[in-house]
């Protein structure tokens, strides 16, 4: 019974992951990006849960809960914390216009399908068929990192990159060992907190969080 819907559920979850990634590139307000990030975290957790049920691995269900706690609730809460009112006002002035960036997203997605089919061969298994989505998310995360000017929008790019890596991990190998999963989650959480603190200091020192102002050190 579950087998018949399994492929559809995996497709649904990975589709949601790709859609949220593309929307993050398209939307420019910080608050919208944070909400999309939260939705993406929940989709990732759903994907892990679906794989867990299919493979009969209880461990993966715990990982799904961990992902809900960190990526779905924790990180977005840290990002949106105290700036709920401010975030609405913060508008990104990206280096690329929306049409161009969406076009690049399409190209990156096609590219990751080509690369992944070379790498693991898009076999018959449901998960390996969906694996290119993870790579596409990594590449879209890079795009955000490069094209965004505000410190906190860069942070969102970093988190998208991390979600992409997690997606690749779950789709190609059913996730990494649980101890490593914990360590990775903790590391990412701490990096985000640190960058968040630095963004705050930047606002105090520079009067804004435009990373283009970071031009003092060079050779």
């Amino acid at each position: 019974m579950f087998d018949s819907v399994y492929a559809q559920l995996v497709g649904l979850c990975t589709g949601a992951l790709l859609l949220t990634s593309a929307l993050m590139v398209w939307r420019h307000t910080l608050l919208a990006s944070i909400r999309l990030l939260s939705a993406q975290g929940l989709s990732l957790a759903a994907l892990v849960a679906v794989i867990g049920v299919q493979e009969n691995e209880v461990e993966l269900l715990f990982v799904a809960l961990l992902i809900i706690a960190t990526k779905g609730v924790g990180l977005p809460w840290v990002l949106a914390h105290e700036t709920e009112a401010g975030a609405r006002a913060i508008k990104e002035a990206p280096r690329l216009n929306p049409t161009a960036s969406l076009l690049i997203v399409t190209i990156l997605t096609i590219l990751s399908y080509i690369v992944m089919s070379q790498l693991i061969g898009l076999g018959t298994s449901v998960t390996s068929h969906a694996a290119p989505i993870g790579l596409a998310m990594v590449l879209i995360g890079f795009l955000l990192l490069i094209s965004r000017r505000r410190a906190r929008s860069q942070l969102i790019g970093f988190l998208l990159l991390d979600n992409g890596i997690a997606t690749v991990a779950f789709l190609t190998s059913g996730g990494v060992p649980i101890l490593l999963e914990f360590a990775v989650s903790l590391d990412v959480l701490l990096v985000v907190v640190i960058l968040y603190v630095f963004a705050g200091r930047m606002r105090n020192k520079f009067g804004g969080t435009d990373v283009d102002q970071l031009r003092e050190l060079h050779d």
Binding site: L145, I165, S173, V176, A183, D187, R201
Partner: protein, 510 residues
Amino acid sequence: MEFALWTPLVGPLVLAVLSLALGSSPARRFLGLASSVVVLASGVLLVTAVMNDQVPTAGGGMLRADALSAYMLTVVGAVGLISTWGGLKTAADSRGQSAGIFEALISLFLAAMSLAVLADSIGLMWAAIEATTITTAFLVGHHRTRSSLEAAWKYVILGSVGVAIALLGIVLIYAASRETETPTLSWLLLSQADLPLDPALITAGGALAVLGFATKSGLAPMHSWLPDAHSQAPAPVSGLMSGVLLAVALYAILRIQTITNLVIGPDFLRTMLSIGGLLSLAIAASLLIRQVDYKRMLAYSSIEHMGLMALGVAIGPAALPAVLLYMLGHGLIKATLFVISGRILHIEGTPVIANVRALLARRPGLAVPWLVAMAALVGFPPFSIFFSEVGIIMAGWAEGMGLVVMIALFLLLVIFAGLTRLTMGMVLGSPAPVAEVASATGSIPSGSTQSITTIRTGSGDETLLVRDFSTHGPILPIILALAVTASVAFIAHPIGDLLERAVAVLGGTN
């Protein structure tokens, strides 16, 4: 001997908690130093165990000390000792809350580095290396100036994105091991020759992992965080980052290389690392010629030495003993130089080379160790960097990488000339006339004026500068580091034996 696997992890952690808990006790400033001593002692204990043909393991196989791990742990401890001892704060400086956090972060950094070299799982090794980004982020931004904030931001973004790429690579390596009965990230299991690992996944995974760790070890073209972070961080932190962090990232590359070599042969990573190494040398050479800041000069010199080490890794087993010795020599010398540069910066109040003149005439106490250490850095014998460089170049020649080695040699000559000119500019020359000295010291804010005393001689306008023989901090660590690097290349037993065993580990024979 299993406890020696736990002490370098637990000891610094306890000391970190202690430095936060101790309030403003004067003993607090010694805690970073104490962590280094713990790590170094554990390293020496593990080395003796390894030399007696033991391989201590602990934590259900998560921690493991083969010859390479034991050697690396000793390097971490030794470089840590020189950096923390040489950069010991004065009692006055170590008051206040930020000093406690500083010592705590140093201890945590050392614990994370120890975990990175002792972990048998490449996943755990990854997590530990990423943890060093976290602990050093605030250390780089410690001064809270505009430029240190900029350096810290760039460092964290580039460092964590680079390490994230390495994670993607590790995930793919894990996926490659799915074909075997038990998927594993254990380095010991992955480096067994008869494992049916998928070559395409290992190629992609290995390439991404090496690319990610190369970012962390400061290889071009992903090096741009390094000069900023090294020049803005406090001196002991720069020494630790340059001597330990870069070397441990290279250690990660060595471990990954062993896995890929077994599955796809050495050619692929050899090409990648050769390009990275030569590019690093070229960038260091071009930016060292016209460098104006002496801390940035040291940072670019780190890029140079990491580039040459990467070439050694590319060449393979024949060059590896030289590379391992290089890590120790470069770490000790660079830590010494950063410590002295911190003292020069504190006394002279300027990081600009052109403003620090006639150091030998004015402050021989700082100039003499600076000169000796710079001589060691540019590769004068009897210091071990010379023997490492010669070893790598000879091995490259023997392996048929003559062209690569020739280009490297040419770039090394350019760097040698550049570094010599910059050092001479700082050290030689006659002291400025008293009027200039007065105006120069007048612009320095923090109580450094009292150390320059000018005496007017009775009759004429002729003035004398009193020579400042003070070393402005502990001299013993500097002497120790120079003595060790000068003698270590001549000790066949146990150093030579240990290096051979460590290389045997990487050859998959142990």
